[in-house]
Amino acid sequence: MLHSAIVLSHEEQRERLRAGCPEAVPVAHTLGDPCADELEVSAPFREEYRTALGIAPGQKLVVITSTWGTRSLLAQECGRPEIRHRIPFALVHRALAELPRDEYRVLAAVHPNAWYGHSGRQIRSWLAPYLREGLLLPRPESDTWKAALCAADVFLGDHGSLTLYGVRHGLPGVLAAFDEDTVAPDSPMALLGRLLPRTAPFVPLRAQLEGAMRQQPGDPDLARAAGALTSRPGEALRAIRALCYERLRLPEPAHPVHARPVPLPPPDPSVRTAPLPPPVLAEVRPVAGDRERVRIRRYPASLHRPADLEPHDPHLVVTAGEPGPRWAHTAEIVVAPRAADPARAAAELFRRHPGCALVAVPDPRDRARSTLVLREGAGHRSYRARWENPAWWSDTAAAASVLYGRLSETEDEAETEIQAEAEAKAKAEAEDAVGTEGTGAPARRITVGIGAAGPGRDTAPGSVLVLTRVAGSGPTEVAAPGARPVEGGEPAQGLLGAEAAQVPVEGER
C-alpha cells in the first residue's frame, strides 16, 4: 500500500473510491475541506475584503475563475458573425467591455498551472488591455482568490475548483466553459455543470449576471450541490491535525486548532496606474421618463466594437492629453486639467479637438465642482456643475456627460429647455431690475445614478448634480424659473429640500 492514509473531503467520495480503487477504501479518512472552512469563517468580513480590494460601496464584484487547459474559461475565444476576427480571453473581454465600469469591478482568478505554465509576465501581457481598464489580476498562489470570493457578488466560472467554492460560498454564478470530458460524471462538479446556467453569446452579459444574482440565491439544488464539498463543515483542521499527530505518535498540542479568516489581500505591487483615465463611452438616460433623474453608464472605449451589445447611444469622453488619435479626434467631451481660468482652458482645448462639443474643467480646489463649457457656434456657453453628495463615480467627466446627455435629447425636450431658458432670462432681467444681483440662480438639479431603474428594483444612493448656467463670458449669471438669489452662488436650500437624493438602481443588494 502506497498511502498510509487517503483523505476525503466528503463521505460521498468513499463510494466513488470504492468503485475506482477499492483497495484504498480501508485507509480513506473523511476529514472535510479546510478551504471551505476558511471561506466560511471569512464570510463575516466581506466589507473588509472589498475595501482591501478597492471595491467601492455599491459596486458589484465579478470574479472570473479559470482553471487551466484548452477547455478552461480563459482559453475561450469569442466571435460574432459580424466580427471577422476572433477575440481571445472572450469572457474577460466581455466582462470588461459590457459591464458598466462604475457599477462593476472584475477580478480574474487564474489557475496557478496556467499562470506558471506561461509565466505571470506573459499572462499580464496577454491581459494588458484589460488591466488598463481596471481588471484585478492577483497572483494565483496568494490567498487573494479566497478574499475575492468573499468580496464577490457573482462569478463567471468553469469546471475548476473555484466554481465549487464560489457556489459553496453562496455566490450566484454562470459557467462560461465546462469540460465534460474530464469531469467525473458522478462528481459534485458534474452536478454543478448541470445546474448552473451557461453564458449565452448573444445576450448582454450584464443581463445574464443579473439573472443569476436574482434567481440563484436560495436555490435548493445549488445548496445541495455545494453541500457535497465537505461532510465535516468547520472541522477539517481539527480532524487533519488529529490524523497527522496520530501518525507521528505524538500527543496533539494543547492549543485548539480551527479555521481562521483569510488574510486581507495586500496591495498588488504589479498594478500600474496611468496619469490619465482611459477613454470611456458614456450613456445617459432618463429614469422612468423623469428628466430630472438620469442614469449614467460608462464603458471602456478601447474595448468597444460596433457589434457590442451595449452601450446603445454613447458619447465619447477623453481626458486632455489622450495619446490615442482615434479617441482624441472623435471625442464629444474633453476633460481638461484643473484650471483656474476655465474659459481659457476650454478655448485652447476646443482648438486642439475640433470635433469636441464640450470641455469640462475641474475646479482646482474642489473635486465636486467643475465648469462645463459648450461649444456654441464660434462662442461658448458655460455651466457650473457641482455634485452635492459626491460618490466615487461622480467626477467631472460624469457631470459633463449628464449635461451632454441632457442637451442631446429629442428636439421636443430641447425646445422645452429653450423655453425654460427664455423664461429664466426674463426672470433674471426682472431681478436685475429690482436690484437683486444674480449671485447664484438658475439651478437645475438632476439626480444621477449609475444603475438601471425599474419597478421592483432595489435602490442605491444617487448623487445630485446642480447645474448653474453662467451667462456669456462675463461674471453675471442668468436666473432660471423659480430660482432665488442666495449667498455663495448656490441655489437656495429651499429649492433643494424637496428633492430626494436617491435614484433607483437595479440589482443592488
Binding site: 498511502h3 499562470w115 505554465g117 465549487l164 483542521l237 497527522c244
Partner: protein, 151 residues
C-alpha cells in the same frame, strides 16, 4: 533547534503547494515538529515552484536527496511522481475541492491522479520548463543540518 519528528511536505506544483501550506498549518506552534519540503518534478507544471518556495521562505530538498532520508510523516496534495520512493507514512489529500476529475487510466494503488499524466499544458508553443527550470537545480540544502537520516 532539536525536534522530535520530521514531516515532509511533497510539492508537485504551485497548486498543490498552496494547498499543502494550508494543511501544514496544523503544525503551527509546535517545536517538536520540523517541516521539510521537496518537489517531485513529475508534474508538467513545476514552473514557479522554486519561486513559490522562495516567496514562502522554505527550502526544497532535492528529490534524490529526499529519497535517502526517512521521515516520520509525508504529506502530499497531489499524486504521482514516485511518491512510493519516499520513506515515510504518507497522507494524501485532495488538491482541489474534493475529487472531481475522471480517472484517466487504471490508477496505481491508492492513487487518483488528478493531473492525468497524459495531458499536456495548454501552451502548445511553450512547454513548461521541465529540465531547464527544475526546482532542484542549484537549490539550497535544507538549513536544518541535523536532518536525521535514521528517522
Amino acid at each position: 533547534m532539536p525536534y522530535e519528528r520530521s514531516v515532509l511536505g511533497v510539492v508537485h506544483n504551485v497548486t498543490s503547494a498552496t494547498r499543502l501550506l494550508d494543511i501544514l498549518t496544523v503544525f503551527d506552534g509546535d517545536p517538536r515538529v520540523q517541516l521539510f519540503f521537496t518537489c517531485t518534478g513529475s508534474s508538467p507544471f513545476t514552473a514557479g515552484v522554486r519561486e513559490f518556495a522562495a516567496r514562502h521562505d522554505f527550502p526544497l530538498i532535492p528529490w534524490d536527496e529526499a529519497k535517502e532520508y526517512t521521515f516520520d510523516l509525508a504529506v502530499a496534495t497531489s499524486r504521482g511522481g514516485g511518491l512510493h520512493e519516499i520513506s515515510a507514512p504518507l497522507i494524501g489529500f485532495p488538491h482541489g475541492a474534493g475529487y472531481n476529475k475522471k480517472l484517466s487510466r487504471k490508477p496505481e494503488a491508492g492513487s487518483r491522479k488528478p493531473e492525468a499524466g497524459s495531458r499536456k499544458p495548454e501552451a502548445g508553443s511553450r512547454k513548461p520548463e521541465a529540465g531547464s527550470r527544475k526546482p532542484e537545480a542549484g537549490s539550497r540544502k535544507p538549513e536544518a543540518g541535523s536532518l536525521r537520516a535514521d528517522g
